[in-house]
């Protein structure tokens, strides 16, 4: 039952990533649509990056995206590793390690998204 719930979250995370990272890809790789790129020049020019970092909606979606991608990606990695048939003790330890690494990366990314938003006043 617990594994079914983990898998359901994996699929929900995939749908969340599809929407938010889909938008991120349009912003970064299909700039002809002009989404969230107010300045001419490259999408990664400071003016555009600072504009997006200040945007409350984008900062919020980045934090959601961080959680969704880390969960989906690590769950996927876990499935692949478990399919190779490791011992139960290895499986448990591996799951704990993935949770720790995932939470640390989530913390770093969230800090960056919030700090980048706060930069606004300093610029």
């Amino acid at each position: 039952m617990k594994e079914t719930a983990y898998w359901t979250w994996f699929i929900i995370a995939a749908l969340v990533i599809f929407v938010i990272a889909g938008l991120h890809m349009v912003v970064m790789h299909l700039p002809m649509f002009g989404v969230f790129n107010p300045e001419s020049g490259a999408v990664t020019d400071w003016g555009n990056v600072a504009f997006r970092s200040k945007n409350q909606f984008l900062a919020f979606t980045y934090i959601i995206l961080l959680g969704a991608v880390l969960y989906h990606g690590f769950y996927g990695l876990r499935t692949i590793v478990f399919e190779l048939g490791p011992k139960k003790s290895f499986q448990d330890g591996f799951t704990v390690i993935l949770w720790i690494v995932g939470l640390v990366l989530f913390g770093i990314g969230t800090y960056a998204a919030i700090a980048a938003k706060a930069l606004e006043t300093a610029l």
Binding site: I11, A14, L15, I17, F18, A21, G22, M25, M28, H29, L30, P31, M32, S40, G41, A42, V43, T44, D45, W46, V49, A50, S53, L66, V69, L70, G73, F74, G76, L77, I80, E83, L84, G85, P86, L105, I108, G109, Y111, A112, A115, A116, L119, A122, L123
Partner: protein, 145 residues
């Protein structure tokens, strides 16, 4: 890490090679490989994109490195991996949730569900992937970005 307990347990060889395959079986390997590639990229991406909190000079210095043609190509590859994984993933979800498998039927050859429902869905997904990759590639080569 092959498990000796089960004689049909092939470990890594099992998901890389499995006998006579249809197209979908290859897409399954690609789904895994692109997923792992994206995960690797994403872990680096968290640190790379965080450089923006150090201000415009540090950001510009980091972006200068990314202007390197090899890294530009790498960035485009991430876009390709993402486009494939995303659309093939939606296809898999539609099938796994039973939304794209057609009505239940006796499994008599030729299998109607895979021919009339699953195969066209796969073709549509791959055509969309191709269109998106071409649009992104056009931007990478000809765009000012």
């Amino acid at each position: 890490m092959a498990n000796k307990q089960f004689d049909n347990h092939l470990g890594i060889v099992g998901w890389l090679g499995g006998g006579r395959w249809g197209v979908e079986r290859y897409l399954y390997i690609l789904q895994r490989l692109t997923g792992l590639g994206l995960l690797l990229f994403f872990m680096m991406h968290i640190f790379a994109s965080s450089v923006r909190i150090c201000g415009p000079e540090s950001w510009a210095a980091a972006m200068k490195i990314l202007k390197n043609p090899v890294l530009k190509l790498g960035e485009f590859c991430v876009f390709v991996l993402f486009s494939f994984h995303a659309l093939n993933g939606i296809r898999l979800i539609l099938i796994e949730l039973g939304l794209a498998v057609g009505k239940a039927e006796e499994p008599v050859y030729p299998y109607k569900s895979s021919l009339n429902n699953q195969r066209p869905l796969m073709v549509i997904a791959m055509v969309l992937v191709a269109i998106i990759i071409i649009a992104g590639g056009y931007n990478t080569i000809f765009g000012s970005h």
